[in-house]
């Protein structure tokens, strides 16, 4: 299928600012899906609120534009109901890790088979350039006029420690790697996270004197290095890209299918520790 078969053409040109990195992510995502050959009808995209969340409107999948931070909770209900579908959840940095931080870590903990793409532009763009939990100490934002004293999260570290079974990072500069990592994440059975550093020249770039889109992408090239590289040891400030975690762990929906089998067979549940005890709902 041609790339344009995946988009809802009537909504173009898209609403993102000139130079925004999110269009590159949209591009990489479509290529990933196309290369994997997944039917459009087998993909559900659930997004939250923010610049990132608008991506769902442009794609001809089953799309749901939900509440700020809550996309993963909606997606969990859909995935539990229809485990055979591919669930893609694009999120902004604030969407994923501020207002939606709780849902993010718990979805990761369950290892439910959902692919999260954190479109990290380090700023709340839709509301006009306020700092996010990923803006970083010392950055400037419309709500951090004297510089930001909030220390940042590392999205990859959080995903790892919360139990995600596939965790990767790329940037909008690394379009081929970005596409490849999204493919891997979609194929992975379990909770997968791809953080993609994206540029916001309108707010973050302007406030923090990182220049135009071209210069911001050039900067991403300079500050990143492949995971485990020698360069990282020499310069710990470099941001690693690539795959950080890729492990097998029982997936949530598959586990629940086993619960259903057991419940249908036994009709009662035994205490795993003693093997004793009957469930008598309503007693006590």
């Amino acid at each position: 299928m041609a790339v344009k078969d995946y988009i809802r053409e009537r909504f173009f040109p898209q609403m993102w600012c000139p130079g925004c990195g999110h269009g590159i992510i949209l591009n990489g995502l479509i290529r990933a899906v196309e290369e994997l050959g997944i039917n459009k009808n087998d993909i559900v995209m659930v997004s939250g609120i923010g610049c990132s969340a608008r991506i769902s409107g442009y794609l001809d999948f089953h799309t749901m534009h939900t509440l700020h931070g809550r996309a993963l909770a909606f997606a969990t209900g859909i995935k539990m109901s229809r485990p055979e579908l591919n669930l893609l959840v694009p999120m902004g940095d604030g969407d994923a890790l501020a207002i939606g931080g709780n849902h993010f870590i718990h979805a990761a903990r369950r290892n439910i088979d959902i692919t999260v793409i954190v479109m990290n532009n380090r700023v709340y763009g839709m509301t006009g350039g306020q700092f996010s939990p990923l803006s970083g100490y010392g950055s400037l934002a419309t709500t951090a006029p004297y510089t930001n004293i909030d220390h940042p999260f590392d999205a990859v570290d959080i995903a790892k420690s919360a139990g995600a079974t596939f965790v990767a990072r790329s940037t909008t500069y690394h379009i081929r790697q970005l596409t490849d990592l999204i493919k891997k994440a979609i194929t992975h059975k379990g909770f997968s996270v791809v953080e993609i550093l994206s540029q916001c020249p309108t707010y973050y770039g302007r406030k923090n004197r990182e220049g135009n889109a071209y210069e911001m992408m050039e900067l991403m090239k300079q500050i990143t290095t492949p995971v485990g590289s020698k360069a990282k040891k020499e310069n710990p400030d470099l941001v690693e890209t690539g795959v950080f975690v890729e492990i097998d762990k029982p997936e949530y929906c598959a586990q629940y299918e086993k619960i259903i089998e057991r419940a249908k067979k036994d009709g009662l549940v035994r205490s795993p520790s003693t093997g004793r005890g009957r469930v008598s709902p309503g007693l006590g």
């Binding site: 909504f11 459009k40 009808n41 559900v44 659930v46 769902s56 409107g57 001809d60 999948f61 089953h62 799309t63 749901m64 534009h65 939900t66 509440l67 809550r70 993963l72 909770a73 909606f74 997606a75 969990t76 209900g77 859909i78 539990m80 109901s81 229809r82 579908l85 709780n102 849902h103 718990h106 629940y256 619960i259 259903i260 057991r262 419940a263 249908k264 009709g267 549940v269 469930v279 709902p281 309503g282």
Partner: protein, 383 residues
């Protein structure tokens, strides 16, 4: 199990049983007193029927998960209490806006805030109506005994499907925790409304928000044969965002009208000794039990007193209240708050001066003695 299928259960269990009877196949929840027994029971029962239960990380996630699950074609429910119900308000509005059927149980406890978790209250009546922001309409039902909890819960699922809307079940701690008998109806004894699904074939354009001539909106299981968009923004017939004033106006009017134009169909209430009554109690939930106790005792002594028990709280059945109270000398609203239904009754009747409040707000169930004492004061007899 005996011949009549009588069970001796808590109100929460009656609600869970009824939900299964109505076709519930997905529940998401978060533990909170005094609603938790519903989740506990469904965690056992749902997988036995092939349904799914998930304990989410909070109440926000719980209601979001059921909305997602409902879209894919499931009958869904969550259950909570005051603080959790507060957390659910934003997503409740999403379900209103995106017209997604779901049932939300709020077993009322004392509030505001953490309040009085193990004690009864009816303080969330107005929250059920206006808790989520923005103009909208909502259905909220309640019940005062386990048999009615059962039929009301089934009604809630039926109305959620009929009107494509969230329906709130506003129970209270007393009724939810107490045990009494429940005769589980035979399969088929109560009507079950299944989801109205579109007849539009695969490959043909489906408009998820284009009403039929009768005003109803057939659904297509999300993730199925039709691809469409769902959003909490004002949207066109395709489900795509729009701020076109015509579309905004039309959608908002539709959301309100589909419920307010059906007040008569949604109204559920019971009349006790109303016909010749000079004094009428209006009550609901567990406080209606105390009111009925008083009514029966006084009737035995020949007093012309009756009870209107409301089971539909929203949309408020104002016309029913107006009619029943028209010839009555004194109306006493019995509830466990500072007069939330009282306000509605005063607005509904021709002479608000004859409407009084008998209430209790200390976490204890209002007693027949409380009501009798308040009646003395209303009648000018002193304490």
């Amino acid at each position: 199990m005996n011949e009549k299928n009588i069970k001796f259960v808590q109100g929460n269990e009656a609600c869970a049983e009824a939900a299964l009877y109505a076709g519930l196949n997905f529940f998401a929840g978060y533990p909170i007193t005094p609603s938790t027994e519903i989740a506990e029971l469904l965690s056992v029962r749902l997988p036995q029927t092939g349904g799914k239960f998930i304990q989410m990380e909070d109440e926000i996630a719980s209601i979001c998960a059921i909305i997602g699950a409902s879209l894919t074609g499931n009958k869904v429910m969550t259950a909570t209490s005051g603080p959790g119900f507060s957390l659910m308000q934003e997503a409740l509005g999403y379900a209103v806006m995106a017209e997604i059927p779901c049932v939300i149980v709020n077993v009322q406890r004392g509030g505001p805030s953490t309040g009085n978790p193990t004690h009864v209250s009816q303080g969330d009546v107005n929250q059920a109506r206006w808790g989520t922001h923005g103009e909208h309409s909502i259905i909220a039902l309640t019940a005062s005994n386990h048999q009615d909890i059962f039929s009301t819960t089934v009604d809630a699922f039926n109305m959620a499907e009929t009107y494509r809307t969230p329906v709130i079940l506003l129970f209270d701690e007393t009724i939810a925790h107490m045990r009494e008998s429940l005769a589980v109806p035979e399969k088929g004894a109560l009507d079950i409304v299944d989801r109205l699904k579109t007849s539009v074939k695969k490959g043909v354009d489906f408009h998820p928000y284009l009403p039929r001539e009768d005003g109803r909106l057939p659904m297509s299981d999300f993730g199925g044969i039709h691809r469409y968009n769902v959003t909490g923004l004002f949207h066109d017939m395709w489900g795509f965002p729009s701020s076109d004033p015509k579309i905004v106006h039309g959608l908002l009017r539709h959301l309100v009208d589909k419920i307010e134009n059906n007040v008569y169909n949604i109204a559920r209430y019971k009349e006790y000794f109303i016909d010749d009554a000079r004094t009428v109690f209006i009550s609901y939930g567990s406080s209606a039990r105390s009111a009925l106790h008083v009514v029966k005792n006084r009737r035995a002594r020949g007093e012309r007193i009756g009870l209107l028990e409301l089971q539909t709280l929203w949309p408020f059945p104002a016309a029913v209240v107006r009619k029943i109270c028209a010839e009555v000398q004194c109306v006493i609203v019995v509830e466990m708050n500072m007069g939330q239904v009282l306000q509605q009754v005063k607005m509904a009747v021709d002479d608000p001066g004859k409407v009084f409040l008998a209430n209790r707000i200390d976490g204890m169930l209002i007693t027949p003695t409380d009501i009798r004492n308040i009646m003395r004061v209303i009648q000018g007899k002193g304490v």
